[in-house]
């Protein structure tokens, strides 16, 4: 199905099932431990052995020698894989560094070897017996030091270009009120619960991988390239994923090494990355240095808006696209953005939940708060004065839907924004300085081609198959709701099968595109199945109403299952998109409100309450969507207050590589959270009229927290995270 015209009325609009807050249909399996994650696939293949990955102990250089004898002779050891045993490996198109080092070492904890043994403990013990001699090389590990050598990122992607509209320099220089500040965000880790994990089994030249991936089809393609084998010889099965946040978008060392280990040991092999390896072996969100310049009239109209961002990555990598929201969020005739990329020898940077916008808004939305204060304006009024219904770079190009102002108005009312003191440092309860902060949430709505297969059997059971993944987001449920709505059967008559490369290729989970795109693909397949059913029943499909397990047309009413008299019916289709996202800018919007308390003595900041108001198209399931948003808000609190991969700038690695030292929020950090979804349908996005919401929820949270900290204390900290050491020296007197 080609989606190239705005959606009109369709069966989804009935909202009998879609739009309802159904519990997760996979929930019972998850809480009873019967939803099998990759490392728990104990019974899919016999004779499983365990692999343990040894990571490089240097950040950059070369392996001079590697001594494997002791490991090979250790109890239970079946095989040891290094680059020598692996043979010729290519690099997948989505990987920056190789997944197996040797002889070159490109980053700390790059995989050097895999030990395969009868037990996990034996493999781990044997791995410690491997002696690796390295010749370390000088590396660049300090973004600030490498900043001046940073260049425009390579590649044809136009989003990497510098942008210029009007005369930014002139308008900024002549603006009556202006701001020029630099903000920094640190490297961050996805820190999802489930590690990267894979069970690999060969049958002849056919390879099956039970793994944890957000993108099944990317995994197949990149694995085929890496091993140099045909794609059709690889099957990926990934039914349940314990969190991803972008960390499981790409092929990682667990997949490759499990396959290599299984080939060498002639046994199925399972490999999970340890937490330290997750942090230094896989990808992370890169640190940024961001300069923001704003110019405005005395009345608060933005006349100049400029955003530059510096980030680093390994050679051949890409930048954190932290400026992209600034091209679209606020009006202003004179604009510029630019990104510069430094070559660093830290582990590979890549996407993490709302790549670009998450760190970009941490800077931009703090700058907006500072600018509002300079103008003597309320921060909400300042934002709304500069609201726009068109792409500010291309004023003829409208937003498909933009209820930015309503998010703030609804939020201000519900949150009690009027209680905020415009003067910072004025509200106090006991030892707590109280502050309120606000920030805009903005994330583009990406639409992705997505396929599905839907079948109907004689019992009236509808089965959906797609390689879409559920990374904890609720994909199973909203896909089930979509098929249920389209075919007029109860949700418990729908079987949803996900995460198998044997199924039609979907959008996968990433960039908050998964929910809208994958259900739109299921919609397309259901339309085809409806046509097949109508044809079998001899009725006109355009008149047919599918409801209550029956198909009705005029006075006729037939059971849905009766269409299968000659056998089960199956339909397959793919939703593909025209240029609606070119003619219209599709984005999601929100407003985050945060109240913090800052201890007047210690400068410890604790969030007291949070509210997000989101305008993100149709909400397919308010319950799972809310879970997405509160999870994202929690992650935003982490980014604001505690999350930072500490770079050892001499040794070139992230030092705090476990969850004891890389702190993310715990329950005690997260107080009352409220989420409001504006009632909205966006016919430009898809037949579902939905958009993404899972990343919108994190966008702007960090700045809202930071602005609240400023409102509480009068201390402006522009370097995230806002840990107490950065506040302490400027804190008001404790008494």
């Amino acid at each position: 199905m080609k989606f190239d015209k705005p959606a009109t009325d369709n069966p989804i609009d009935r909202l009998q099932v879609v739009g309802q807050p159904h519990d997760r249909i996979d929930g019972a399996r998850k809480v009873t431990g019967t939803a099998r994650y990759a490392y728990e696939q104990h019974d899919v293949v016999a004779n499983q052995a365990y692999g343990y990955v040894l990571g490089a102990g240097i950040a950059k250089g070369r392996i001079a020698s590697i001594e494997l004898d002791a490991a090979r002779k250790a109890p239970g050891v079946l095989a040891v894989v290094t680059a020598r045993e692996a043979g010729d490996l290519k690099k997948g198109p989505r990987n920056t560094a190789c997944l197996l080092a040797g002889p070159e070492v490109e980053h700390y904890h790059q995989a050097v070897a895999l030990v395969v043994a009868e037990s996990f403990e034996q493999a781990r013990a044997a791995a410690s017996l491997i002696k690796v001699e390295y010749v370390a090389a000088e590396g660049a590990f300090d973004l600030n030091a490498a900043k001046d050598k940073a260049v425009r990122p390579e590649g044809d992607d136009p989003s990497l270009n510098d942008t210029h509209v009007g005369d930014f320099a002139g308008a900024f220089a002549s603006a009556p009120v202006s701001l020029d500040e630099t903000y920094t965000t640190p490297d961050e880790s996805h820190a999802m619960m489930e590690p990267h994990a894979t069970l690999a089994a060969w049958e002849g030249d056919k390879l099956t991988l039970w793994t944890a991936t957000q993108m099944v089809a990317w995994g197949v393609t990149d694995m085929a390239t890496t091993l140099g084998i045909p794609k059709q010889n690889i099957r990926i099965v990934s039914p349940f994923i314990g969190g991803g946040f972008g960390g499981k978008l790409f092929l990682r060392a667990d997949v490759l090494l499990a396959a290599l280990g299984a080939r060498l040991a002639k046994r199925p092999v399972k490999v999970a990355l340890t937490r330290p390896l997750m942090i230094n072996n896989t990808t992370h969100r890169p640190a940024t240095i961001q300069r923001i310049r704003l110019g405005a009239t005395k009345e608060g109209k933005i006349t100049a808006i400029g955003h530059e961002s510096w980030s680093g990555d390994l050679k051949g990598g890409g930048p954190e696209v932290a400026v992209q929201q600034t091209r679209l969020l606020y009006a202003g005739a004179n604009r510029m953005t630019a990104m510069r990329l430094a070559e660093l020898d830290l582990p590979e940077g890549n996407a993490m939940r709302a790549p670009g916008e998450a760190p970009g808004l941490m800077a931009l939305e703090m700058a907006m708060d500072e600018m509002a204060e300079k103008l003597g304006m309320d921060p909400i009024a300042f934002r709304l004065l500069n609201d726009t219904q068109v792409d500010p770079e291309k004023p003829k190009r409208p937003f498909s839907m933009r209820r930015f102002d309503e998010c703030f108005r609804v939020g201000a009312e519900r949150f009690g924004w009027s209680q905020r003191s415009a003067q910072p440092g004025r509200m106090r309860e006991g030892n707590w300085l109280i502050g309120l902060g606000v920030a805009a949430a903005f994330r583009n709505n990406l639409v992705m081609k997505s396929g599905a297969r839907v079948s109907l059997d004689a019992k009236g059971i509808v089965t959906v198959e797609t390689d879409m993944t559920d990374i904890g987001t609720g994909s199973y449920t909203i896909i089930g709701q979509t098929a249920s709505e389209m075919l007029g059967v109860d949700l418990d008559k729908v079987v949803v099968k996900l995460g198998d490369s044997a199924f039609p290729v979907s959008a996968g989970s990433g960039g908050q595109w998964g929910g809208n795109s994958s259900t739109a693909g299921v919609y397309a397949a259901c339309v085809k199945l409806r046509e097949a059913v109508a044809q079998k029943l001899g009725i006109n499909s355009t008149e047919a109403i599918f409801a209550g397990g029956e198909v009705k047309a005029g006075n006729r009413s037939l059971s849905l299952a009766s269409a299968t008299e000659a056998g089960p019916l199956t339909a397959e289709d793919t939703i593909e998109y025209g240029d609606l996202d070119e003619t219209h800018q599709q984005s999601t919007f929100g407003a985050h409100f945060v109240e913090v308390g800052v201890d007047v003595a210690t400068a410890e900041t604790r969030v007291r309450r949070m509210l997000a108001v989101c305008a993100a198209g149709r909400i397919l399931n308010p319950k799972t969507a809310r879970s997405q948003v509160i999870g994202a808000m929690t992650m935003g609190v982490g980014a604001a207050l505690m999350e930072e991969l500490a770079v050892d700038k001499r040794r070139g690695f992230f030092v705090n590589h476990d969850l004891a030292s890389y702190e993310v929020p715990v329950h005690a950090d997260i107080p009352h959270q409220e989420v409001v979804f504006l009632d909205e349908t966006d016919p430009m996005s898809s037949p579902m009229k939905a958009k993404g919401v899972g990343e919108l929820g994190i966008c702007g949270v960090g700045a809202a927290v930071a602005n609240a900290v400023y409102n509480a204390t009068g201390v402006r900290v522009r370097d995230y995270p806002l840990t107490l050491d950065k506040l302490l020296a400027r804190m008001p007197d404790a008494a």
Partner: protein
């Protein structure tokens, strides 16, 4: 984790004797620290002596009006004990500020005292660390040191002792009772249990080989307002940046012990004379010989400000 043998000891003295017989033996109690370190091959004992089930899990009133806490009393049980809550509130509060409910259910009194540092370089076996590999150097000095020590440290090691419980015990003048392999027993003031790193940071306590802690005793209650204030980046389940165990009397005198700043619970008795003069004077005296890194220099003003808040709270 290396392969190891295991035995269940039949008495504290037998456990000590067994530990003396085996060159690389370790006692295992709650295992909340040791097992992690074994998995990471930081600890590689060849023999484990299980001291659970030796009857060391009782809290008893002692004849001098104090309390005798068995070495195997779990942190949860100790924190919940009525006598501890009433008479040694700083200890209960310190315990509850540490770790998580699950860990406290498992962790023991002696194990808590003997837990090892959480310095991230100690935890990464690819990095030099004088504590883990004597003579290899300290990578924390000049590295990521925000969490690490500012006082009592040396050029060989700037690690901190991570315990909350031990800080309260230091303020309470607790004493550790031990049994040695020759069945002799001794009492060691908790102040003397941990050694400062000097040039031998791998030698962390004064305990002899095979010497087993059997109990911790508290002297009779000293009253006062008892506060444990733990300052950290998140609200729970994090090690202290700075913590203060305070016992403040009505006349303004008191005792102060610090956590998160030193290789052992840090108390300077002579500095306590400064308490009536306020937090600044007392903090300066307690941290007189501090040598912070650029990254953890904030701990000095943080101690002073936190102490100020604690003293204000004690005044009510």
């Amino acid at each position: 984790m290396r392969a190891f043998s295991y035995e269940k000891a039949s008495s504290p003295a037998d456990a000590a004797a067994a530990a003396a017989r085996s060159p690389d033996a370790k006692f295992i109690a709650g295992g909340t620290n040791l097992l992690d370190l074994m998995k990471l091959q930081i600890e590689t004992p060849t023999h484990l002596i299980d001291v659970n089930g030796l009857g060391l899990d009782k809290i008893e009133s002692s004849p001098d009006g104090g309390l005798r806490i068995g070495a195997l009393v779990r942190n949860t049980a100790l924190a919940a004990d009525e006598r501890v809550r009433r008479d040694y509130a700083v200890l209960s509060r310190a315990l509850l500020a540490g770790a998580s409910g699950q860990l406290r259910n498992r962790a023991t009194t002696a194990g808590n005292l003997l837990q090892r540092t959480r310095c991230p370089y100690f935890y990464d076996t690819a990095q030099p660390c004088n504590k883990r590999r004597p003579g290899s150097g300290c990578s924390a000095l000049g590295g990521f040191s925000r969490q690490l020590g500012v006082v009592g440290i040396s050029d060989a090691c700037i690690a901190t002792h991570p315990s909350d419980m031990a800080v309260a015990m230091r303020a309470l003048d607790a004493t550790v009772e031990t049994v040695k392999p020759d069945r002799s027993t001794r009492s060691i003031p908790v102040a003397d249990v941990h050694r400062l790193p000097g040039n031998t940071p791998h030698v962390e306590t004064v305990l002899d080989k095979g010497e087993l802690i059997t109990a911790v005793t508290l002297p009779k209650p000293v009253g006062g307002t008892q506060i444990y204030r733990k300052v950290r980046d998140r609200a729970s389940y994090a090690f202290a940046l700075v913590s203060i165990a305070a016992i403040v009397q009505r006349d303004g005198s008191g005792r102060i012990a610090l956590g998160g700043v030193a290789p052992k619970p840090w108390r300077v008795e002579t500095a306590e004379a400064e308490l009536p003069r306020g937090a600044k004077a007392a903090a300066e005296a307690i941290l007189a010989d501090a040598k912070p890194t650029r990254e953890n220099a904030f701990k000095l003003p943080l101690v002073e400000r936190t102490l100020g808040a604690v003293l204000a709270q004690a005044r009510g």
